[in-house]
Structures are given as C-alpha cells and as structure tokens.
C-alpha cells in the first residue's frame, strides 16, 4: 500500500489548528484511528511511522490492561532511516509522564512540594515520585505517617500561606479520611474568605478500580468530588494528558483533585515533542475528541477512554462511526464540546466506572437534555459500574465494571440495532 510517504514531507503541527490538513491525514487511516486532531490541542501525528511499522499484536479480549495505544504504537523503528529523524514519536508511560511533570514543576518553583505516604524513601507507592527525594531532599518530598486527615490539612494550611503542595493519596479511597479537608478547608476557603485566601493545592492519586483489590480499594470518586463547587477535578487518560494536566494543576491557583488510574500507570502512549517541553500545559475544562465520528458520541474518562476507542473500532465494522470524547476534566465539565458533539451525531453513550446513581453520566445526560434535547434521536445510554460494592472474584469483578462489549452493545442500542441483553463475549 502506498503508505510509504516521503518522510521529509512530514510536518509537525505546532499549536496551529489546521483542521483540513489533519482530517485529510486521518482519513487515510480511517480504519485504525489512533487519535483525531482537535484544533485546540497539540498532537503529533507521524504518518510515516504507521506505514512502515505493522505490528501484529494479538488483541486480548475482556479485561485487558493493554490500552489501544500499546497496540498501535509499540514503535520499534525497524529501518535505521527512522532513527535519524528527530520527528520520531517518543513513547512514555503514564508513570513517567507524571514523574517528569512533578520533577519539572518542582525544579521550576521552589514552593512546590510533595507530601504523602511512601512518596520519599519508598519512591512512591506506585513509583510516581521515583527519584524526587534524591533530587529535592526530604524537606520537599515529605514522607508522612498514616494520617490522611492530618497531612491533607497540613497541605491546605501550607497552601493558605502560598506554598504549592502536591498531596498524594495512596488511593483516593483513603481520601475519604481526609475529605473534610479536600472539601471544607480547600474547596470552600476561597469563597468563604471572599477571595482573600486561595488554596493552590493538588490532591492526586490513583482512583477507581484496579485488579482484584476488593470493595474498599475500588471506588471511583469522580462524581463525589465533581459535585463540589470550588474544586477542579481532572481525569487524565494518556501520557500527554497526564503531563499537561498535572502541570496545569500544579500551576493552578485553585484546589485540584487529580484522579489517576493505577492500571494506566504502566501503559505507554506516544508523546509529542510539545508535550515534552517543560512549559507544556493543557487547558483545564476542555475535553478532547479522541476520535471523530458522525453516528454516535461516546464520552469517557480515564481508563474507559481506551475501552471506548476499542469499542469504536468494533462498531466501525458494523458501520457505526463513533465519536469518542475524552473528558479530561470532570469539573469544570466541558459541556460545550459534549453538546456540540451530540448535536452532530444525535446519540450519546456515557461511560464511567463509578457507581451509576448520581454519577458523571447522569450529569452529562442532564446537561444534554437541558441544552440539546431537540437533537437527540435516542435516549441517552449510561454505562457505569454495577450498583454493588466491588466483588473480589475475578469473574464477578469483570461483571461489575464496563467492558468493551458493554459499550458496543449500548452504542448499538442507541442506534436502534439492538442485541439481546445477555452477554455474548
């Protein structure tokens, strides 16, 4: 096939929206889109790579920790010609992305410090803060006793005086011990003090289910924190998201809850050179359209974006062209992008791992009904985790969280091509 384009004609897009050119590029790879180009965002598409490298990676069904990114872009340059071009896309795990973002922000601003359990000598419970203790010392990478309420409050008090703490919760489940501080003394303080005291703090850590960790370690807190005015809640998916959003969060003058995902830490994603720049930031409150489509909109965040993209591939074979939106930010929610997308496609499926009642999907559904009711051709389909505390057994856990086939089924239902409810895969 004629994918062996001239490498020299390859152009890197630098901040300039060029929608026409981008879509033209995408259309060649219509069947295997990796990400689409949103004019607001920085992406590097290296078309040459895709043509030369074809990887035969087995697609594992069911619960898979391999994201779509891994399938597509496990780039190992075959030809030596590849190495000499600086336009080579770099791969980075989400873990490295977070680590590098923290490193750069701490280097740039001495007011930034990290505090949490095992962040120092243990190099981070999930190794996100690896190497920071050696670089910045124990005053800036502070190991704490097991006192979530205490150290979250200490972070808030430090933020009142202008420091910029990054408080790590080993998982956001533990944030429930400190939720008083996240909400009452962090989120509400700027309002209660009428703007005198702002709280530039970041609470970060893994959120949502991992694999087989049981009910008390598997809850998703997006909906709870997303309902609090005064907080900003960010949910990165890819490495670029992780880097850009964490940097934006640290620089932000308001309290930010940064919900990561443990299973995504090890996943690699391609990152553009822009993303590697130390001043790279993503705007807070803008969603990203990962894949453009015209038949149905699928919104997702965090790990579910990967699932949604895979589901979109499967739907493509059935002739349903799905648009996948990576929310990136739960609060403020990018209602504009979601509504614009629904007005284009007329159907909506929301995907989340949290509990269904009062979840993110409920809010998106309400927003769409309020703003774009006339455009809906079908009821909004909400996919969420099962309305049960997370079971431990592997097969039960699989049933308790959305899988790719669930997304596919819901999308088909929304397109009136229903499939019997019983799971087939």
């Amino acid at each position: 096939m004629g994918h062996h384009t001239n490498l020299l004609s390859y152009r890197r897009r630098l901040f300039q929206p060029s929608p026409a050119g981008d879509r033209k590029l995408i259309s060649i790879y219509h069947s295997r889109p990796l990400f689409s180009v949103n004019s607001n965002l920085f992406c590097l598409i290296d078309e040459s790579m895709w043509g030369i490298i074809r990887q035969n990676v087995g697609v594992t069904g069911g619960l898979s920790s391999q994201g779509l990114g891994n399938h597509m872009m496990r780039l190992r340059p075959v030809a030596s010609a590849m190495r000499s071009y600086s336009s080579a896309t770099k791969e980075m795990t989400v873990r490295d992305a977070l680590n590098s973002a923290l490193d750069e922000e701490m280097a740039a601003d001495p007011n930034v410090f990290v505090m949490g359990e095992e962040v120092g000598e243990y190099q981070g419970a999930y190794k996100i803060t690896k190497g920071l203790l050696d670089k910045y010392g124990p005053e800036r990478v502070v190991d704490t006793p097991i006192t979530e309420a205490g150290f979250a409050g200490i972070g808030v008090g430090a933020a009142y005086h202008g420091l910029r703490p990054v408080i790590e919760f080993m998982t956001f489940n533990f944030s429930m011990q400190a939720i008083d501080h996240v909400i009452n003394s962090a989120a509400k303080s700027n309002y209660m003090s009428a703007g005198q005291i702002n709280v530039p703090i970041v609470f970060r850590g893994p959120n949502g289910p991992a694999a087989g960790v049981g009910a008390q370690h598997s809850q998703c807190y997006g909906a709870w924190y997303g309902s609090v005015p005064g907080l900003k809640v960010l949910v990165p998916y890819s490495s670029e998201d992780a880097r850009g959003l964490l940097k934006a969060a640290i620089r932000d003058p308001d309290p930010v809850v940064f919900l990561e995902n443990e299973l995504l830490y090890g996943e690699s994603f391609p990152v553009s050179a822009e993303a590697l720049d130390s001043s790279f930031c993503l705007p807070i409150g803008k969603a990203k359209i990962e894949r453009e489509g015209k038949d149905i909109t699928i919104t997702a965040f965090s790990k579910m974006v990967g699932y949604a993209l895979k589901a979109a591939e499967i739907l493509e074979k059935d002739g349903i062209n799905a648009e996948v939106i990576n929310l990136r930010s739960i609060r403020p929610l990018d209602r504009a992008t979601i509504n614009a997308s629904v007005r284009k496609t007329n159907r909506l499926v929301t995907v989340e791992e949290g509990f269904p009642q009062h979840g993110i999907g409920a809010e998106i559904c309400a927003s769409v009904v309020e703003d774009s009711f006339g455009y809906l051709d079908a009821p909004v389909e909400r996919i969420a985790g099962a309305d049960v505390p997370t079971p431990y057994a592997a097969n039960l856990e699989r049933m308790a969280f959305p899988q790719i086939e669930d997304i596919v089924r819901a999308a088909k239902r929304a397109c009136y091509r229903s499939v019997p409810m019983s799971a087939t895969a």
Partner: protein, 422 residues
C-alpha cells in the same frame, strides 16, 4: 486566685504549693516528664468537682524581669485590658443583635474566655497566624481585625471581613493572618499545622532565614478527643513545627461534659505522650496565660517545637445563642462567674497601681463607642449584590469552564448575574 506561678512570688498571692518546689527541681523547661510524673500522682486525687487551677509546669529561673516584679507594664496591661473589654462588649452586643434579628444562623459567643484570647494573641506579630473554631469572633478581634469588619460580617453585609460570604463561623483575614474560622471541630488543627509547616519550609527550603512565624491553634475540650488532633500532635512534634496547640477547656461541648466524654480528662498530658511539653494553666487569669504563652511562643520561635497548652476556662453563655444551656449546674456557673477574668485583671491593675479607676472607665467607654459604631456601620452597609453569588468560587475565574458558545463562561458579560446557569 488559685495556685500561682512561683516565678514571681512577690506579686501574686501565693498559696501553699505542695505540688512541686521549683527551686529544688532542676530548671527543665515546660512539662518535662519528670515534673509531670510528680504532679500526676497528686492531681489524680483531686475530685472532678473540685478542679482547681494548677500550673503543672515550671519555668527555668532565669526569666525574671529586670526592672520590676510585675508581670506587665502599664502599656501592656492597658492593651490587654482593652482587648478583653472589646471581646466582652462585642459578644454581648452580638447577643443583642441576634435577638433583634440582625444576626442569624449559628452564633457562638466567647464570654468568659477572654483571658485566653488576649493572653495569647496580644503577644503575636502581624505575620503570625491564628486558626480558630466557630467561636472565633474574639480571636479575630484580638488579632487586629477591625470590629466594624467583624460586625458587618456577622450581619452578612458586603463590608464584612469576608464580604458576608463566611459568616460567624468563618472569619478569615489574609491581612491579619487569621486563617479561619472552621465549623468542623478539629479541622483548624491540621490547617494550623500546615501554616507552621510553611514557616519551617520558608526557613529551610526557601532560605528566608529570619522566618520565625508561629501559629496558634485554638480549639476546645471536645476537639481533644478527635483523631485529627492526635495526628497533628504527632506530626508537629515529629517535625518540630512552630505551633502552639491551645486547648480552651471550658468543660462543656454543647451539653456533653468533658468528664463524661474523655477517658482521661487532663488534656495537657496528651502533649508529653507525643513528645512535646504539656502545660495546664488557669485560663481565667490573663496574666498566667500570658506567661505561659510567652514561653510557648518563645520556644516555637527558637525552633524548639510545639507546645500543648490546656487553659482551664469557662463560657458564661451557652454553646451558641440557640442553646438553652440547661444542663450546666448553676453553682458551677456562679463559681466561675466569680472568677471573671476581666474583674480579676481590673483588680490587679488597680491594686498594683498600673492604672486608675478613671483610666479603665475611659477605656470601657471607648470600647462601648467602638462597638456601637460598628453596629451602626454594619446596619448601614449594603447587603451583597446578586453578582457576588458567583464570585470567588475560584481564584482562577476560568474554573467555571466553557459555555455553550465555546468561550470561557467567565468572559460572558452576564456571568455574575446570579442565575443558576452555571
């Protein structure tokens, strides 16, 4: 007046103090475990109904004032007196205004506890921080927030210190470093520990070598049973933070007596358990409180770490203005009313010729005028405009996200019209 601090034996009435002989024990600083163990066995024998004020710690003998035997100079004395009078008159006026409907919601008054606030806060610099609970009017006033600003805030007017958005329980002032005002008990303690952490961070990491700001955390006896309190005692002692934990033990948490709620009612003992000195002081005597405060603050400024100070005090009114206050024994109330800190201090000033009756009356009159002026000011101030509803939720106004037209919501000129669009 209870048992005296024995460092100034000539000034305060000295009753037989069989507890510990400061001359005999070595000059170890506040709350050394040896001293505490000594007092421990003795205080256990005191029945709960007869809690007397005891200073359970000693001070090294080098701290005598060079020129006079008195604990305060005239200027300091008048300053403290004025502050206590301001606290009392202000709170009484709050009660009046509440019953007239000008103030609403939860209002918690500080009558009777003025010695603690004045005793501690008048020793602070402007850069030092104070963190309090919902009973925070007087802490804010002592720290320097104008009475007009506090009264307006209580009335919910836009000229209040938080523009009417905080209210009685959330007094914040960045200028005066009053970091709240928290409704949840125990919530202020970690925040105060964080402010102390900042002070240390500024000194060690940001290399502001002379940063010796201390933080005071005020809270009550009920809070001393809360988990966050212990977490912060641990971390403050662990990292030697410049903070003083001030327990205003007024023996009652709404209607729950401290003795019914606590396994060991002597809160100062919790300090040494975490490796910091614990001091118990008579909170109805502003001079004693001031002496203890001086040491604790000095300790913190020198970088020697935190201190836990338990002030035994009493609130003359109920927990809040909505509390019928039926559970407290009238005899107990009468007993503490007889030990009113203001009357005691007035007596001290007059007896020691630091001020005349006329001077003190003049101060009282001045404060009356200040408080009445603050009420008038608050009355005449406007209520917040509709547009204020959406302001200050975020420091970065783009935090409201993107509107349907694709631009940031805050850029819309109609943004602060107070509609529920957002």
């Amino acid at each position: 007046m209870g048992f005296a601090r024995v460092i100034h034996p000539h000034t305060l009435p000295l009753l037989a103090d069989t507890r510990a002989n400061p001359i005999a024990t070595p000059s170890l600083f506040l709350g050394s475990t040896r001293t505490l163990r000594h007092t421990l066995t003795h205080t256990r024998s005191i029945s709960s109904a007869q809690r007397r004020s005891v200073v359970a710690a000693k001070v090294s003998d080098v701290k005598l004032k060079p020129t006079t035997n008195l604990l305060v100079t005239k200027e300091e004395g008048l300053e403290v007196y004025e502050d206590m009078i301001l606290g009392r008159v202000f709170e009484d006026m709050c009660a009046q205004m509440y019953y007239r409907g000008k103030m609403f919601g939860f209002v918690h008054l500080y009558n009777g506890q003025e010695a603690v606030s004045s005793g501690f806060i008048k020793l602070l610099k402007k850069e030092d921080s104070v963190v309090s609970t919902y009973r925070d009017h007087v802490h804010a006033l002592s720290k320097g927030v104008p009475a007009r600003a506090v009264m307006s805030e209580l009335f919910g007017k836009t000229t209040g210190c938080c523009r009417g958005q905080g209210g009685s329980m959330h007094m914040f002032s960045a200028e005066h470093n009053v970091l709240g005002g928290f409704a949840f008990i125990g919530e202020g303690i970690p925040v105060a520990t964080g402010a102390a952490f900042t002070s240390k961070y500024k000194r060690e990491v940001l290399k502001e070598a002379d940063c010796d700001h201390v933080t005071l955390a005020f809270f009550g006896d009920g809070t001393a049973n809360n988990g966050q309190f212990f977490e912060c005692l641990n971390m403050a002692a662990l990292w030697k933070l410049p903070i003083i934990f001030v327990v205003e033990n007024n023996l009652w948490a709404i209607g729950m007596s401290h003795l019914r709620a606590t396994s060991d009612p002597e809160i100062w003992k919790k300090g040494p358990a975490f490796g910091m000195p614990g001091v118990h002081v008579d909170g109805m005597d502003v001079l004693k409180v001031r002496e203890v405060a001086k040491e604790a603050i000095g300790r913190a400024r020198r970088g020697e770490g935190p201190t836990l100070v338990e002030c035994e005090t009493y609130r003359f009114r109920g927990h809040s203005l909505a509390d019928p206050d039926e559970l407290r024994d009238p005899d107990e109330k009468a007993r503490y009313a007889a030990r009113d800190p203001i009357t005691q201090f007035k007596k001290y000033l007059i007896e020691n010729k630091l001020a005349s009756e006329a001077e003190l009356k003049a101060i009282e009159k001045k404060i009356d005028e200040v408080v009445e002026d603050s009420v008038e000011f608050a009355d005449e101030s406007p209520a917040p405009s509709r547009s204020q509803l959406l302001e200050n939720v975020f420091a970065d106004p783009r935090g409201f996200g993107i509107g349907p037209d694709g631009r940031y919501r805050c850029e819309d000129p109609k943004f602060t019209e107070g509609t529920a669009q957002v």
